[in-house]
């Protein structure tokens, strides 16, 4: 599914990712944990193709294809999805219009039949319900004036609509109360299947009570310094990161 080898990346000429390797197989859930500033968000940006995030070495392949040269929208259409740590507000563009454009572009690229407006609206309302967002949110500007939790649920709704093959969730659980956390976890679990993989960036073990990862990695200073199974997350919760960094 996703194979990252020795990935190095710079932001504003500062080296942030310093040789990161990761192999995610179809259907797997990987959790990435790590201290603030270790490069977790940067990894998501580099993989999704954000401008200004320069790859200076290594490779990343999605389903056997090098994605690092592609435009961000092409990567998305090939099935990569990033749920933002800080979703962007876009006043003036309605959520509905945005979602329709997004689904249309993706379906067209993937050679799927276009959805007519009526079926799309029906689908969008269904997904709203699934993440416990009132359908009136579809009429509002994209993320405009949404609370933190609403923004995160909007991200999960987009994920459900776009049916990506690789989902990267960047601290989707941060700042959520327990109910919202449950909604996010249910969303992810509903999307799980043998062909869809997840990379879940989180600080907290608690999300992993709801979404059980196959692997847990610790990212520190731009590299993965330790990998293990879900018990590693528990250990991190107890002891923090410093004991690994010292190892």
């Amino acid at each position: 599914m996703l194979t990252i080898k020795n990935l190095q990346a710079d932001v504003e000429e500062k080296n942030i990712l310093k040789g990161l390797s990761l192999d995610v197989k179809p259907g797997e859930i990987h959790a990435i944990m790590g201290p603030n500033g270790s490069g977790k968000s940067t990894l998501g940006y580099v993989l999704s193709g954000r401008e200004g995030y320069q790859v200076s070495g290594g490779s990343a392949e999605l389903n056997g294809e090098n994605i690092l040269e592609l435009e961000a929208d092409e990567r998305a259409k090939k099935g990569l999805f990033l749920a933002f740590q800080y979703p962007v507000e876009i006043p003036g563009v309605s959520n509905m219009e945005f979602l329709k454009a997004s689904v249309d572009a993706t379906r067209e690229y993937q050679g799927k039949e276009a959805l007519d407006t009526v079926s799309f609206m029906k689908l969008a309302r269904e997904k709203c319900k699934a993440v416990n967002l009132d359908p009136s949110f579809l009429k509002r500007g994209v993320n405009e004036g949404f609370s933190g939790g609403e923004k995160k649920r909007n991200e999960i709704m987009q994920m459900m609509l776009l049916e990506p093959s690789l989902c990267i969730l960047d601290e989707t659980d941060s700042g959520l109360d327990i109910d919202a956390l449950q909604v996010v976890a249910d969303g992810v679990n509903a999307c799980r299947d043998e062909n869809r993989s997840f990379i879940i960036v989180t600080h907290y073990q608690r999300l992993l009570d709801y979404i059980v990862p196959d692997k847990v990695h610790v990212l520190s200073d731009g590299k993965i310094i330790k990998s293990g199974d879900k018990s590693l997350a528990l250990e991190l919760e107890e002891k923090g990161y410093s004991w690994i960094e010292k190892e």
Binding site: A72, R75, F81, V93, V103
Partner: protein
């Protein structure tokens, strides 16, 4: 740079100017009015880049050999059909280079009466005279020139108590010309007491080549007539006028114009301006609240691209107490284009309880795009509410990236954000066909944006 001596005002030195106005209209009373305007024009110097009102416009093309075109051109009716934006109208007035094109117009004088100045009766003459004399208050000598040279002045009379369901559509075309030519246009709209009317003014360029709807600057047009224009909308007590003004000319077109709106007691003006700009596109908008409890709403969208310019000087005058004004203009400035927005609110000494709000927002799409936005407040009354704001922003690159991560390509993302910036203003166009026509223009103007 042009010299400012009076002899350099082109064909418009004393003798020639008078000759021309005489040749155009045969009614003495019009000649007298035009003579006065000519005199005022001749007393002024041509603006240079140092002249405040003209700081951002280049009028150096205006030269000694300009001439006035008095030619009356016939236009193909099928062309007109294509041009009128699929909007139903009650009457259609087509002017070509300021001259009334009777064959293409559809004037039925069915309730709303359209009278050429020449055929005005005594009362109308008096009305026209007083409107033109009042409107000679301006800061723009090209308007004086217009008042001196227009040929087919029109008075549009909306009778008192009348509700006009379909708009009066005024289409003004400028044609291509080999040498520099200039044209004038004068339109007076009188909205009678308690009347309710819609007026659409649409400006377009007529090429000699077959018409296509392209605003592509790579196509070389020879020049068009330099179009001077004034519209006066006089809204009597308790009347409502919905006015839409669309500037959809070719990039090489040039226009200097003015809209003067006069509001009497309890009247209401709802106006909408849309322009894509051109090599010179300057509109002065004046709103005079002359009767208490009158209300004006101005909405504007401007979208210059390539090397085009656009200039709006708006001035809202609260002359009497208890009036409200709302003005919202937004511009998207692309490529190397340049926009000027000057929004003035003038509240007179006795105009207590005035409520004036003005907002101007601009989106710059490139580093070369330029906006000059200047608020001006002159407030001489103390018990007023006045809000005034101008902003300049760039496209939010984070938002572009966000849209891209959802599969929307960069060009479409930019387009979505641009449309999103002005979308909400479109609801101010109440006529649905007109709203979709403007939406199409918007799509069209934004579709060839460079990233």
């Amino acid at each position: 740079m042009i010299s400012s001596s009076t002899t350099d005002k082109g064909f418009l030195n004393d003798s020639k100017l008078c000759e021309h106005s005489a040749q155009l209209s045969n009614a003495n009373w019009i000649n007298d009015l035009q003579q006065k305007a000519a005199e005022k024009y001749l007393q002024q110097n041509l603006p240079t880049r140092k002249t405040e009102h003209w700081k951002y416009n280049d009028v150096s093309f205006f030269k000694a050999n300009d001439y006035l075109s008095a030619e009356q051109l016939a236009v193909d009716e099928s062309l007109i059909e294509k041009l009128t934006l699929e909007v139903n109208f009650s009457q259609l007035i087509v002017l070509v280079n300021g001259r009334l094109a009777e064959n293409a117009s559809k004037i039925n004088n069915d309730s709303v009466i359209i009278t050429p100045f020449e055929s005005a009766d005594a009362a109308q003459k008096e009305y026209i005279g007083s409107q033109l004399s009042d409107s000679s208050q301006n800061k723009n000598l090209f308007l004086d020139l217009n008042n001196a040279i227009y040929s087919d002045g029109l008075l549009i009379d909306i009778p008192a108590n009348d509700t006009v369901d379909a708009p009066i559509y005024i289409l003004q075309l400028s044609t291509e010309t080999e040498s520099s030519a200039i044209s004038g246009s004068q339109i007076l709209v009188r909205c009678g007491k308690n009347s309710n009317s819609q007026v659409i003014e649409h400006f377009a360029s007529l090429t000699k080549k077959p018409l296509n709807d392209s605003h592509d600057s790579s196509q070389q047009f020879s020049q068009f007539h330099f179009a001077l224009q004034q519209t006066v909308i006089d809204i009597e007590a308790n009347a409502l006028c919905t006015h839409t003004r669309l500037n959809l000319e070719k990039p090489s077109a040039r226009q200097v114009s003015r809209v003067l709106n006069r509001l009497e007691r309890d009247s209401k003006l709802e106006s909408f301006y849309f322009s894509r700009g051109s090599s010179l596109n300057k509109t002065d908008i004046d709103v005079w609240h002359e009767g208490t409890n009158s209300h004006s709403e101005l909405t504007g969208i401007y979208l210059p691209s390539n090397k085009d310019t656009i200039d709006y000087h708006t001035c809202i005058e609260h002359r009497v107490p208890h009036c409200t004004s709302r003005e919202v203009f937004r511009g998207i400035i692309a490529d190397e284009s340049k926009a000027t927005f000057n929004g003035k609110i003038h509240i007179f000494k006795d105009a207590q309880k005035s409520d004036a709000q003005l907002s101007n927002k601009n989106l710059l799409l490139t580093n070369q795009a330029e906006i000059n936005t200047k608020p001006e407040l002159e407030i001489y009354a103390d018990d007023v509410v006045c809000a005034h704001g101008a902003t300049i922003a760039k496209i939010d690159e984070k938002a572009i990236y966000y849209l891209q991560t959802r599969g929307i390509n960069e060009l479409n993302a930019r387009k979505m954000l641009s449309i999103g910036f002005i979308n909400e203003l479109l609801v101010n166009i109440k006529n649905e066909a007109l709203m979709s026509a403007v939406a199409r223009q918007l799509e069209f103007s934004l579709s060839d944006l460079n990233s």
